[in-house]
């Protein structure tokens, strides 16, 4: 994999370069400032830095983009986390009376981590991922993205690759940022179907009638299931994995299928047999028998870390932060190209820093001349930085981020207009 050229030992050497020339500060600030609609929104936001040797510095906050930039270039954090917007400036939290310093708002966030799927993937375990199991993340994004938009009515969803083994979602709508803890946990639970720990075998139990949300989620899962579960993971191939699947069926069905499977080895046909049994069951018994759906969901449905979503003050790794173990940049995922998104193709910090050192092609040279002419009034250093990231493979991810921000900016404009109108009234 391309990330293999990354060596975590050289991180301290290349981080300064990354923060000086590549980190997209202006977009980053544009995002977290949310158009300046609410006062002190950026200023009261908590940032947390992880420095060398796992030294954790919480409650950082900055008044301007410039200050953030300077501080990051000074500290060169291994990892950046974003926290809540507080009632006071987080870096002054010790100076206010205890109890008054409170987390007020934050994006509604979701964290999906591949380790939580260990009982249903056979290709990898723990922190490892491969193209086979990555489909699980694709499914997770499709299911949750649909539900958050259609069911909850949110519009500004930023999906981000965590840099190693999972994805994050930042729901940035104003309504989402203002949700209470109780509301966040209700949303997370609405979206959770997998219940139980290592001591529960059957983790999905559907009741009748099946809720529209589950129906819609099944549509997504069904699309990926044959290729992902039957072929790639081969859940109906090897004996142990077959037993695991059959353990999720009713007892009488299980016996029948065990017999049938003796003469049928092809996973697709085996699945068909199982589905036929389910259909038969549904015909006879009055109460819903949805075991084939339950199996599909147990193997493919997104597994959320509910605790991350619940807390307003919970920290989550920031987009464009580096993953110290893999060196990959935490980049936004373009949903239009979700099915071809390849975590192994995500640039590492060493890769993009090398790309900077490459001599420019003639074409690039010309282009940059052009822009230079046009914008020579702009701060020279600033425009150089813009050109810098454009010369690396980070460019397309920053572009994706830009597009996300453009859409969101339209909603701020409305807000700002309303505000200025109000002021005229008085």
């Amino acid at each position: 994999m391309p990330a293999s050229d990354y060596d975590s030992a050289c991180l301290p050497d290349i981080l300064p370069l990354y923060y000086r020339r590549l980190f997209p500060f202006s977009q980053y600030y544009r995002w977290l400032n949310y158009g300046g609609v609410q006062k002190n929104y950026f200023q009261n936001r908590e940032f947390s830095f992880t420095l060398k040797d796992d030294i954790y510095v919480r409650y950082q906050s900055f008044t301007t983009q410039n200050e953030l930039e300077k501080e990051m270039q000074k500290m060169n954090p291994y990892k950046i986390d974003i926290g809540a917007i507080y009632s006071h400036r987080p870096n002054q939290h010790n100076t206010v009376k205890s109890g008054t310093f409170q987390a007020l708002e934050k994006e509604l966030v979701f964290d999906i981590d591949m380790t939580d799927y260990d009982d249903v993937r056979s290709c990898c375990s723990a922190a490892e991922i491969c193209p086979k199991c990555w489909t699980l993340m694709t499914i997770a994004i499709r299911v949750l993205d649909r539900a958050l938009r259609d069911d909850f009515g949110f519009q500004h969803l930023l999906w981000v690759y965590s840099g190693r083994r999972g994805v994050h979602c930042w729901v940035c709508d104003e309504a989402a940022r203002k949700l209470s803890v109780a509301a966040r946990s209700a949303v997370a639970e609405y979206l959770s179907l997998i219940k139980g720990g290592d001591d529960t075998m059957k983790k999905v139990v559907l009741s009748d009638p099946i809720h529209p949300f589950i129906r819609e989620s099944l549509v997504v899962v069904e699309r990926y299931f044959p290729l992902y579960a039957l072929q790639d993971q081969d859940i109906l191939g090897r004996k142990e994995s077959v037993d695991k699947v059959l353990a999720l069926t009713p007892e009488d069905v299980r016996k029948q299928l065990q017999q049938d499977f003796q003469n049928e080895k092809k996973p697709e046909n085996r699945w068909k047999l199982l589905k036929d049994q389910a259909k038969r069951k549904q015909g006879t018994s009055k109460k819903g028998q949805h075991f084939e759906k339950e199996i599909m969901l147990q193997y493919c449905y997104p597994r959320l870390d509910v605790n991350v979503s619940k807390g307003v003050n919970h920290l989550l790794k920031s987009p464009f932060s580096v993953h110290p173990k893999t060196g990959r940049i935490s980049v936004p995922i373009d949903l239009k190209e979700l099915d071809t998104f390849d975590p192994f193709a995500v640039p590492t910090i060493s890769m993009i820093c090398e790309e900077l050192d490459r001599p420019r092609t003639v074409e690039e040279e010309e282009k940059s001349e052009e822009t230079n002419d046009k914008e020579n009034e702009k701060d020279a250093a600033e425009s150089r930085k813009i050109r810098d990231y454009k010369r690396t493979s980070l460019a397309k991810y920053v572009k994706c981020f830009d597009q996300f921000l453009d859409v969101m900016a339209r909603s701020w404009k409305g807000e700002l207009l309303k505000k200025s109108d109000l002021q005229k009234d008085f």
Binding site: E189, Y190, K195, G196, G197, D198, T200, H211, F213, R215
Partner: protein, 511 residues
């Protein structure tokens, strides 16, 4: 006695108005004088009622027939309203409906004073009050329900016939209580999803573009949501004016004691500190740990790791049975470094949270070991977790296997599984205790893993090395009620309070 600083002449008129409906949102505080004795009785009796509600909520499905029946019996015994009468002038024995409503009103406000002080207390109080309200609202007839909504200015928008038609199938599939036929003549209300979180959480309602579509009979959810919000705000306000109340030395000890009664016994006070050696833990886990702790202990020994939920549940339990901070650090470190965590990483990533547990970091709260209720209801285990209550969170089949391994007799297993099926998890655990300790019927009612441990040690002749306390540690607040600070003129009252609180203790020990 002065009830609130805003003492005003109350008129019988306003009182009749206030109590004209069996249920209220407790918007107005009571403004009359009451005797100290009445103050005490009201408070204690309401607390008993709330405690009953908490217990019933664990043993039964809320609003199931049995739940309602038991709650009705308890309400009646404590003279709270248990079935609103259409005509309250009907001659009855005992207190009249008006008196009951007055008691309901006043006792609610007394407990507000006692339960507004900390986040934990507020959460507990709100939860029980909401459940009580739910039960009572459910008991009203449709006319009374509507009247209540009107009186409190609760109005919701119904959806049009066309919209209902367009969404017909989705609506039918979203609510258990709605069938194809009833959709037609039922009103649906469209409200922002934030106003009906309970329905969203359990996916019992259709949700589209941020709005939920609530069938009329589920309207109770929005009403409860509203009730909860109002109460939550009111408690925050009450907390602010608390210093004034606390200056009254007749009330302060009583209020303090009331507020601490809900947790029952407190197992965080470690009289046994240092009386247990680390070598004993393995053998104790087999003999005297409840199943939940035995299970986490075992998985810790096997995997040399526990995730956060497990560390909290087990770590606090160990603290409760007497491990000192130093022992705890040693215990966790020695186990974790056998696995993937080296000593350095342990000190950086885990030692902090253990010191935190003992109140040595962060907010410096001395955390209390989790009760059964907490283990059962909060933070259910997910992938990779081993904590939780095995009776609640394990597949019956796996539970059965586990019990077999632990040499529980087949007939015993059947009994336990029967209790689990009925959702009596604590009773199932108690049964497990009886079976593994060879006692006919346990003389206690189990509600805390550390209680299990203590009781087990009692039965087993008291683990020679563990100093046994005949009395389970009690919250120190009790002392303050008899403390020398009590002014002489309040002495008589203080004695009453002491008597009363003793009675309260015995009640919660039985509960």
């Amino acid at each position: 006695m002065q009830f609130s600083s805003r003492r005003k002449k109350f008129t019988t008129n306003s009182q009749t108005e206030l109590y004209s409906h069996p249920l209220q949102f407790y918007g107005q505080p009571p403004l009359e004088n009451i005797s100290l004795t009445e103050f005490e009785t009201f408070a204690v009796e309401r607390l008993k009622l709330l405690k009953t509600i908490e217990n019933l909520g664990v043993s039964y499905v809320k609003l199931s027939d049995q739940y309602i029946k038991k709650l009705e019996v308890e309400s009646k015994a404590l003279n709270f309203l248990y079935r609103p009468e259409a005509d309250d002038r009907k001659p009855q024995s005992g207190p009249t409906e008006q008196e009951k409503r007055r008691k309901d009103h006043i006792s609610h406000f007394i407990l507000r004073l006692a339960y507004c002080q900390t986040e934990d207390l507020r959460r507990w109080f709100i939860q029980q009050e909401v459940d009580l309200f739910r039960y009572r609202f459910n008991d009203l007839d449709p006319k009374q329900k509507l009247e209540l909504l009107h009186r409190n200015n609760l109005q919701y928008d119904t959806i049009s016939v066309e919209e209902k038609k367009a969404l017909h199938d989705k609506l039918v599939n979203s609510s258990y209580a709605v069938s194809g036929i009833t959709v037609e003549d039922q009103d649906f209300y469209k409200v922002p999803f934030q106003d009906a979180l309970d329905l969203v959480r359990s996916r019992k309602v259709y949700l589209k573009a941020g709005y939920v579509y609530i069938p009329h009979q589920d309207i109770v959810t929005i009403v409860l949501n509203d009730f909860r919000t109002r109460l939550s705000k009111a408690l925050a306000l009450t907390a602010r004016s608390l210093p004034a109340v606390h200056s009254d030395e007749r009330l302060q000890p009583l209020l303090n004691h009331l507020s601490h009664a809900y947790v029952g016994q407190d197992y965080s006070i470690q009289k046994n500190v240092g009386k247990i050696s680390l070598e004993q833990i393995d053998s104790l886990s087999g003999k005297s740990f409840p199943l939940c702790m035995r299970q986490v202990h075992q998985s810790l020994r096997e995997n040399h790791h526990l995730r956060h939920g497990g560390r909290m549940q087990y770590g606090l339990f160990l603290k409760g049975i007497g491990l000192s901070l130093e022992q705890a650090l040693q215990f966790w470190r020695s186990e974790f470094i056998k696995g993937k965590v080296d000593s350095d990483k342990f000190d950086k990533a885990y030692a902090y949270s253990i010191r935190h547990m003992f109140g040595k970091e962060g907010k410096r709260t001395d955390y209390t070991p989790y009760s059964c209720m907490k283990v059962i209801l909060s933070n259910a285990p997910s992938q990779g977790d081993h904590h939780g209550c095995p009776f609640r969170h394990s597949d019956p089949e796996l539970l059965k296997q586990k019990l077999q391994v632990y040499k529980v007799s087949p007939s015993g297993i059947i009994q336990i599984l029967e209790l689990v099926k009925g959702m009596h998890y604590q009773l199932a655990c108690q049964k497990y205790f009886e079976l593994t300790h060879n006692v006919e019927e346990a003389s206690f009612s189990l509600n805390h893993p550390n209680q299990y441990f203590i009781e087990s040690q009692k039965v087993l002749g008291g683990g020679r090395d563990i100093k046994r306390e005949t009395d389970v540690p009690q919250k120190p607040q009790e002392n303050s009620t008899k403390g020398p600070s009590a002014a002489p003129e309040a002495a008589a009252n203080t004695q009453d309070v002491a008597e009363m609180t003793e009675e309260l203790d015995s009640f919660f020990q039985d509960a």
